[in-house]
């Protein structure tokens, strides 16, 4: 009876996920297996192209770099926030979340203004005498990574604050009283216990970066094409829906594989992590 009630309670959510996620994704991907060239022909064509392999690798690279830097900066920030007095903690959390109150396009535009040839950074460096003429910073992989970190790091910080706050102070005090240095306590107690949060944060940032469209479009331009912008080109410009579906399917596979690998790593680092 209890089991039946559980099924009934979860059925609306299951139905919604099936209707709005699983069925559309399955329908999109199924188109790639029924092309006239053969079952896997669109995938063969995708990987036969050096340009398309470059786009896939570039997207993976950008998402991975963004995730690693967000992990490091996010962990440090969340650690400081979680150890702050309650009144300061509220202020810091609001500051961390504040960028989420504006859209991705607005936040990307902000970086256009900062990194532009006549932007804040170039003007400051010129004023300080560090450079003689403005540098071309936009439309590069670096500018995309910087903007993605800025856009997605609040997600990482929020997840990690929750995890770090739940680590009992008793454990840290015990570690310290047994002679462990603050670094050893952090590495041997805090970090393993924060692993589930690190994995969740990493998955969120990696997935969002890997599938992002607006930021690579605005800050990377056409010369730094990524999977999101490439998918848009195939679907909305070339009207080649099979090719676009192939790109979408490859993105799904990369993301699912990454999530599985990260979960496995998490279990290894911390067997209690789910």
């Amino acid at each position: 009876m209890k089991r039946l009630a559980g099924w009934m309670l979860s059925s609306p959510a299951t139905l919604a996920v099936s209707l709005f996620l699983i069925i559309p994704v399955a329908a999109t991907i199924s188109a790639t297996f029924t092309s006239p060239g053969g079952t896997f022909a669109p995938y063969g064509e995708f990987f036969a192209s050096g340009f398309q392999r470059t786009v896939l690798w570039r997207t993976f690279e950008v998402a991975a770099i963004t995730t690693v830097i967000s992990l490091i900066l996010g962990l440090l920030t969340a650690y400081v926030v979680s150890r702050s007095p309650p009144w300061m903690k509220s202020v810091l959390v609001i500051l961390a979340v504040f960028p989420l109150l504006t859209g991705v396009v607005v936040r990307s535009f902000a970086w256009l203004i900062i990194l532009g040839r006549n932007g804040v950074l170039n003007n400051t460096l010129e004023w300080l005498g560090v450079i003689e003429r403005p540098m071309a910073l936009l439309y590069s992989q670096t500018s995309v990574v910087i903007a993605l970190i800025y856009i997605f790091i609040p997600l990482m910080i929020l997840v990690l604050i929750g995890v770090l706050e739940n680590i009992p102070d008793d454990l840290l005090q015990a570690s310290s009283s047994l002679g462990a240095s603050p670094t050893a306590t952090f590495l041997q107690i805090t970090l393993p216990l924060a692993t589930p949060g690190l994995i969740v944060g990493a998955v969120l940032v990696f997935t969002a970066s890997f599938t992002s469209y607006a930021t690579p479009h605005l800050l990377g331009g056409t010369r730094q094409m990524m999977m999101g912008t490439f998918l848009h080109q195939r679907a909305m410009v070339s009207f080649d829906w099979v090719s676009a579906s192939t790109v979408a399917a490859i993105m799904v596979v990369v993301i699912v594989t990454t999530v599985l690998v990260m979960t496995r790593i998490a279990k290894r680092l911390n067997p209690m992590a789910s």
Binding site: V55, L112, G116, G221, T222, R223, V237, S238, F239
Partner: protein, 345 residues
Amino acid sequence: MTHRLTLSLATVSAAAILAATPALAQSRTFTVSWWGFNGDALQEIIIDPFQEMCDCEVIFETGNNSDRLSRLQLREGAGVDVIYLTDRFSQLGIELGLFQPIDRAQVPNIDEIYDLAQAPQGEYGPAYSIGRVGIVYNADEVEAPITSWDDLWREDLAGSVSLPGITTTAGPMVVLRAGARAGVDAYEDPDAAFAEVAEIVPNVLTNYNTGSEMINLFSTGEITVSMAQDFALGRLQAAVPSVVWADLEDGAIATLNTINIPTGSENVELAHQFLNFVLSAEIQQELAERGVDAPVNNGVDLTEEQAAPWTYGDEMIAGLNRMDYVPMNANLDDWINRWNEVFGM
């Protein structure tokens, strides 16, 4: 309790009446798909008076050529009554079977427009405006004036050029100009044409996809030279007054902006009326004078100052290079792949 119920019912009834009022006042909606460029002026010059004429509510779908055409394709030609596109994309729409022939008897003003605008793509939509693709540059930043398409390859322009993306109206024209530079027909010998495209890469900071993007690149100082359509010149010069239109000895390239009626239009008769309205001398005159679009109606008379930004007058129109979009569309997929290889690696 009764009082609260009565109040709630009254509120709901009032909301229902308010919601129903516009539907009663305007019996039908008419959907226009266009770029969204110069929206305020177009609202005043075209939409407000047309709404009064047709007793309809005009609603919009905006976006660039490819996005809107793609959306129309997904809806199999439905959801829009008239669609503005450049001739490159309207040709694509025709090939995709998304447009219906125009009943020219219902659009008498077609007889008043330039011959080349009347039926640029056969029985389908006429051109309501004619434009040019050429080169614009910041005269304060570029030392030697730009006088030919080949100047885009000049070494002194390294890292300061923006080209239109291959998926825009003007993008494939880069390939054709590259072919001309190599002395070949780009349709016949794409290898040679794209070898020249590869030569220009060091000069290109990024490719743009919309006119607004290109204007932003100029105004933020990222670029000093670009290929552009003349309709963007006014806004570009407002943002950066030192930008000039290059006087090219090998001629600018003509673009015809068309209006078509999709196959799924629910207001075909009204769509023909709209076409006739937009092509009338009065509307064309006002659009030109207000800096919105170049006229195609022979009855439009502009002063030298008013005509300055436009492709206007027999001599200028005769000097334009024309494009054949049928072979271009046939080669486009190959060109997009080659372009991606050149710029995206």
